[in-house]
C-alpha cells in the first residue's frame, strides 16, 4: 500500500452502515495479522487481508472495489476463523464483490466474476448446475476457449459430465429468487 493519507472526510458512511447491518465489525480489528498470514492466496493479493479490513474500517469503499484481492479471495474462511475478534472477514469480501458488481466497476480480475455469472446462469436456467453448459458458457464469455481443453475432454471420456440438463419442477420459484426477491430494501 502506498503512503497516501486518508482523511476521515473520505469515509463512506453508507458503506460502513451496510457492514453494520451484516454484523461485520471491522472496527474490532487491532491489526494482529493472523488473517493475512493464514491466507492461502495472500501472495497473489495486491492489498493483504489486514489492509482490506483496515481500509474498510476507514470507509474506503472505492479503493477496495478496485483491488485484485476482493476477486482473488477464494472464500476459504481461514481469515474469519482465525480472527481473534471474530470479524467476519470473508463476509466483508462478499459485500465488496457484490458492491463492485452492482456499481458496474470494471473488475480487476475479469474472468473470476464471469465464471460466477456462468455458474449462476446455469442455476437460473435449470435450478441446478449443469456442468457442461456452465463451462461452455464461461468459455464463450471469457474467450478462454482453449484452456483446459484436454482436462475437459478427459472428464468427458470418463463419463463424469452429465450430457443433458434437466430442469427441476420448482423452476418458477428459482426464477423468483433470481428476480431480486427481497432486494427492494437493499442498496
Amino acid at each position: 500500500m502506498d503512503n497516501t493519507c486518508i482523511s476521515p472526510e473520505e469515509r463512506n458512511e453508507k458503506f460502513l452502515g451496510k457492514l453494520k447491518t451484516r454484523n461485520i465489525d471491522v472496527q474490532a480489528c487491532f491489526q494482529c495479522g493472523r488473517c493475512s498470514s493464514g491466507c492461502p492466496i495472500g501472495e497473489f493479493f495486491d492489498l493483504n487481508v489486514m489492509e482490506v479490513v483496515r481500509l474498510a474500517a476507514y470507509g474506503q469503499e472505492d479503493r477496495l472495489l478496485q483491488s485484485h484481492s476482493i476477486w482473488l479471495c477464494a472464500a476459504c474462511e481461514t481469515c474469519a476463523t482465525r480472527c481473534p475478534n471474530e470479524i467476519e472477514i470473508a463476509g466483508l469480501m462478499d459485500v465488496l464483490r457484490e458492491l463492485a458488481l452492482r456499481r458496474g466497476i470494471a473488475p480487476t480480475e475479469p474472468r473470476i466474476p464471469l465464471f460466477h455469472r456462468s455458474f449462476l446462469g446455469s442455476i437460473r436456467s435449470w435450478g441446478r448446475v449443469w456442468e457442461i453448459g456452465m463451462i461452455g458458457d464461461y468459455k464463450v464469455r471469457s474467450g478462454d476457449l482453449t484452456g483446459d481443453m484436454r482436462l475437459g475432454l478427459r472428464m468427458f471420456m470418463k463419463g463424469k459430465l452429465k450430457l443433458a440438463p434437466q430442469a427441476i419442477k420448482g423452476k418458477a420459484e428459482i426464477k423468483e429468487i433470481f428476480s431480486g426477491k427481497g432486494k427492494e430494501y437493499d442498496r
Binding site: A75, C76, K158
Partner: protein, 287 residues
C-alpha cells in the same frame, strides 16, 4: 435409521461416483436415504460471493423442503453443507427477515464424514469390513468448507479435525501426520485462475507425499476434482490419487475395488486396485 439426503449438483456430474458410494455405504449400514424431492442448487461459492440475497434464498428453499420431511439431513458435499448451515443459522436467528413466518425444525444438518465418524457408526463400519486396507498410508484432506468457519459449521476441531482419520482407521488404512489437512485448494478459482490452483494443489500434494502418503482421502467433491486435476504430472512428480472417504469404505466392505471405478479417477495410480487384486480376480473368476 432414516435420513433425508441432499446430494447437490456435483454428485450428479463430476462426483457421481461419490453419490453412488454414499448410497452404497448407507445401504450396508441399514440407513435409508430419502432424497429431498426437487432440491435445487445451494448456490455454492458463486452465489454468496456475488449476491447475498440469492446466496441465502437458494439454500433456504432446500431447508424448507427438508423441514417438511423432518429427518436429519445428510449432505456429502462440503460446499452444500456450509451453505445449508449458513442459511439454517440465518433463518433460526430471524426467519421473518427472509419472509418466513416461523422456522423451528428439529433436524440436524450432517456432513457425511462427521456423521460416519460417530463412535457407533465407526463400530458398525468396522464390523462390516470384508477386507482391510492393509495399513495403506493415506493423507486425510479436509479442505475448507466442512470446517470453516466454525460459527457457521459448528465444527468442533476445525484446525485439527479427526473424522477422516477415524474413518480410514476403521477400514484398516493408516492416516499419516501431515501439514496441509485443512489448507484451501482454491476450488472456487480453479476455472478462472488455474495458475493459482496449480500452486496451491502442488503444495498440498507435495506435503502429502513428504509425509509418506500413497493416496489422499477427502469428503469434498470440489477438493477431489481440483486436487486430482491440478497436480503436476511428469518430471518425477509423484501422482497422488484422491479418494472419497465413502469410496474406501465401500471397497473395504465389499472386499473389491473394481478397475472400472479406478478408471473414473484422473490420477491413474493403481494403489487401491493392487491392494484388492487377488480378491477381485477370484471374485471375477467365480462370477
Amino acid at each position: 435409521m432414516k435420513l433425508s439426503y441432499y446430494p447437490g449438483c456435483s454428485l450428479e456430474g463430476t462426483a457421481r461416483d461419490y453419490d453412488q458410494s454414499v448410497r452404497a455405504v448407507c445401504t450396508k449400514l441399514d440407513i435409508e436415504l430419502v432424497e429431498i424431492a426437487d432440491w435445487n442448487c445451494c448456490g455454492a461459492s458463486s452465489a454468496h460471493m456475488t449476491d447475498h440475497e440469492t446466496g441465502m434464498r437458494l439454500p433456504i428453499r432446500n431447508l424448507l423442503l427438508a423441514a417438511k420431511a423432518g429427518h436429519d439431513l445428510l449432505v456429502p458435499c462440503a460446499a452444500c453443507f456450509q451453505r445449508l448451515k449458513a442459511a439454517d443459522k440465518a433463518l433460526r436467528a430471524d426467519s421473518r427477515f427472509w419472509d418466513i413466518e416461523s422456522y423451528t425444525p428439529k433436524f440436524t444438518i450432517l456432513h457425511v464424514s462427521s456423521f460416519l465418524a460417530r463412535p457407533e457408526m465407526l463400530a458398525a463400519i468396522a464390523a462390516k469390513v470384508m477386507k482391510k486396507l492393509g495399513g495403506l498410508p493415506i493423507a486425510c484432506y479436509y479442505g475448507c468448507l466442512s470446517l470453516r468457519n466454525p460459527r457457521i459449521t459448528d465444527a468442533r476441531n476445525w484446525e485439527r479435525p479427526e473424522t477422516l482419520e477415524g474413518i480410514i482407521s476403521a477400514v484398516g488404512a493408516k492416516p499419516v501426520a501431515w501439514s496441509h489437512r485443512t489448507e484451501c485448494c482454491s476450488g472456487s478459482l480453479t476455472m478462472a485462475r488455474p495458475d493459482i490452483a496449480e500452486k496451491l494443489v502442488g503444495d498440498i500434494v507435495r506435503a502429502a507425499a513428504r509425509a509418506g502418503a500413497q493416496a489422499m482421502v477427502t469428503d469434498c467433491p470440489m477438493c477431489q476434482a481440483n486436487v486430482e486435476s491440478r497436480q503436476a504430472t511428469g518430471d518425477g512428480a509423484q501422482e497422488m490419487p484422491v479418494f472419497f472417504a465413502t469410496e474406501l469404505i465401500e471397497a473395504a466392505m465389499k472386499g473389491t475395488y473394481p478397475v472400472k471405478q479406478q478408471k473414473l479417477h484422473l490420477v491413474s495410480s493403481p494403489v487401491l486396485t493392487e491392494l484388492f487384486r487377488d480378491r477381485t480376480m477370484t471374485k471375477e473368476d467365480s462370477a
